[in-house]
């Protein structure tokens, strides 16, 4: 009887050796497989980033044609996109990494029916349920304007200029104008001085002398700061409202939106434009008309048509008699709550991350793409 036990024992040893070998093979191959999958995720991220930044994207129109300029076309909803790309459409050769401000603003636009949702982007990029992603767009120059110090006839706005690592940028050129609406017209007040406090640490103080302001009430009600920071060809612009009667409005294409219903059927819109000369920026303002006040499709927002949209406009002001609506063309979304397929997450899942410096509305931004696998 013990002979059978010997054979059984031998058989068991053989099976054990094979199981151990197979386990070893699997465990050796797993790290290689993981490395390969991580590399592929990096390449996929690079591939998607190229597509998003270099392609215009497209959407079909009701007349059967396809438009690449889908950002400003209010008939195009996010779910209509057949391909996703944010590059600015041009009749001639497109500049690389120049993005369309309307397309970018669609990503977190306040009017629901015009917003492009992360799921629509994932569908048009054919990511399916395999990948999750998030986008971050923020200015290369981190410009912070602290609350102003108002003393008699002077208003001082402390401005901090940093890079994205928080290091000060001392050599920046800061230009500022204060815009306000008085008697139906826009007026501007140039900064009386821009001083460093200390400039070496990227701290500036923009001062306005308000002695020349004839209508202080109108000034306090509608004052809006236009601020440009230029550094070695990199520019960041802010159009910030400080007036007591000012409220946020939004511009998409040649339409202005604001919450609530339209108080006036038409009016004047003041567009603040910017241009460069040398290493500094300068501001000008132009006036056009707003007409065709309607209610946006999903309700809750009034919509006006502009008679003309200046391509270099960075800010807009509209006084409807009771409120001054202020819109800016600056873009900012950051963190998991910005634009992500899982907006409820507090951090991004482990995956791949790539970033490029892009130009939006003549300003330099960091465009960052996070990509992760939903399952490994």
């Amino acid at each position: 009887m013990h002979t059978i036990y010997e054979y059984l024992f031998t058989g068991l040893i053989i099976v054990a050796i094979v199981v151990a070998s197979a386990t070893m093979l699997t465990s050796i191959s797993m790290p290689l497989k993981m490395i390969s999958e991580r590399e592929q995720l990096k390449v996929t991220t690079e591939k998607l980033l190229s597509q998003v930044l270099l392609s215009t994207g497209s959407a079909p129109l009701a007349d059967g044609t396809v438009t690449a300029d889908w950002g400003r076309n209010l008939n195009v909803a996010g779910a209509d996109l057949t391909s996703f790309g944010l590059a600015k459409q041009s009749e001639t050769t497109r500049e690389s990494f120049v993005l369309d401000v309307d397309k970018v603003q669609r990503l977190n636009f306040s009017v629901n029916s015009l917003r492009v949702e992360p799921r629509s982007v994932a569908t048009s990029l054919q990511l399916g349920n395999d990948y999750g992603f998030a986008l971050e767009i923020f200015p290369v120059l981190n410009v912070t304007v602290r609350p102003p110090k108002v003393t008699g006839s002077s208003e001082e706005y402390p401005v901090l200029v940093r890079n994205n690592e928080g290091m000060p940028i001392p050599g920046a050129s800061v230009t500022a104008e204060m815009y306000y609406i008085v008697n139906g017209y826009v007026a501007n007040l140039s900064a009386s001085s821009v001083s460093g406090t200390p400039k070496e640490l990227g701290n500036f103080t923009v001062s306005f002398d308000t002695r020349g302001v004839s209508n202080k009430t109108a000034f306090e009600r509608s004052k809006t700061l236009a601020l440009s920071v230029d550094y070695e060809g990199t520019r960041s612009i802010q159009f910030r409202r400080y007036g007591t009667g000012t409220y946020d409005a939004y511009v998409l294409g040649d339409c202005l939106f604001h919450s609530g219903s339209a108080a006036k059927s038409s009016g004047s819109i003041f567009e603040v434009i910017t241009y460069r000369r040398g290493s500094s920026s300068y501001f000008r303002n132009v006036t056009f008309t707003l007409t065709n006040a309607t209610t946006a499709a999903d309700g809750g927002y009034a919509r006006y048509q502009m008679s003309y949209l200046e391509p270099s406009a960075i800010g807009f002001m509209f006084d409807d008699g009771s409120k001054v609506w202020v819109a800016s063309r600056s873009v900012f979304f950051y963190g998991p709550g910005g634009f992500s397929t899982i907006p409820s997450a507090s951090t991004f899942p482990l995956g791949s991350q790539l970033q490029r410096v892009v130009t939006i509305a003549d300003q330099a931004y960091v465009f960052r793409l996070y990509l992760w696998r939903m399952s490994w």
């Binding site: 054979y7 191959s29 390969s36 592929q40 270099l54 392609s55 050769t93 497109r94 569908t123 054919q126």
Partner: protein
């Protein structure tokens, strides 16, 4: 039972077991090898898709009909010492893909998406083997022969050409005579 019969049965059972276990082991190792090859094929497919997507984007951005762009790519001659194929697929409704597969085992393949558009329209991927025309001139002085396979001794590149729509594909560069 006599002792010799017991030995015969035991030895035959052990031999049978050895064969079965050997077969099982080769199956397991084959699956693991296929898994690793899939990973390498995936690397190749992703790399080709990335570069192809870039030249297509650049040709599209040029807004200049008639323009041709090429980009040299470095492809491994073999995957685990075996030949492989690269195919470009434009499946209606599914989009455009680069598929890399083993010649000896077509069931071992990996696909990588070229994220152009959902409908696959507007871009014609040259997924068939073209032996002669068209030969696109390259900036390096050679010519590009659109192809769908791989073979040693050639310098590979991805190309895109815009006529009425964008044509794109994988090619190999043939050095100029002289």
């Amino acid at each position: 039972m006599p002792v010799s019969i017991t030995h015969v049965i035991g030895t035959v059972a052990l031999l049978g077991m050895l064969i079965a276990v050997g077969f099982a082991f080769s199956l397991i190792s084959s699956v693991i090898e296929a898994d690793l090859m899939k990973g390498q094929l995936g690397d190749v497919a992703e790399y080709v898709a990335l570069n192809l997507g870039e030249v297509i984007s650049l040709v599209d951005a040029s807004n200049y009909p008639g323009v041709t762009m090429t980009k040299a790519i470095e492809l491994p001659e073999t995957i685990s010492g075996k030949s492989y194929n690269i195919m470009l697929l434009n499946q209606t409704g599914l989009g455009c893909y680069v598929q890399a597969s083993m010649v000896s085992r077509p069931d071992v393949y990996a696909r990588s998406l070229i994220p152009l558009n959902i409908t696959g329209s507007g871009v014609w991927l040259r997924d068939e083997t073209v032996q002669d025309e068209p030969w696109w001139p390259t900036p390096l002085g050679g010519t590009v022969i659109p192809t769908n396979g791989t073979s040693a001794g050639f310098r590979y590149l991805v190309w895109a050409h815009w006529q009425t729509e964008i044509e794109a594909g994988l090619g190999r560069e043939k050095p100029s005579a002289g």
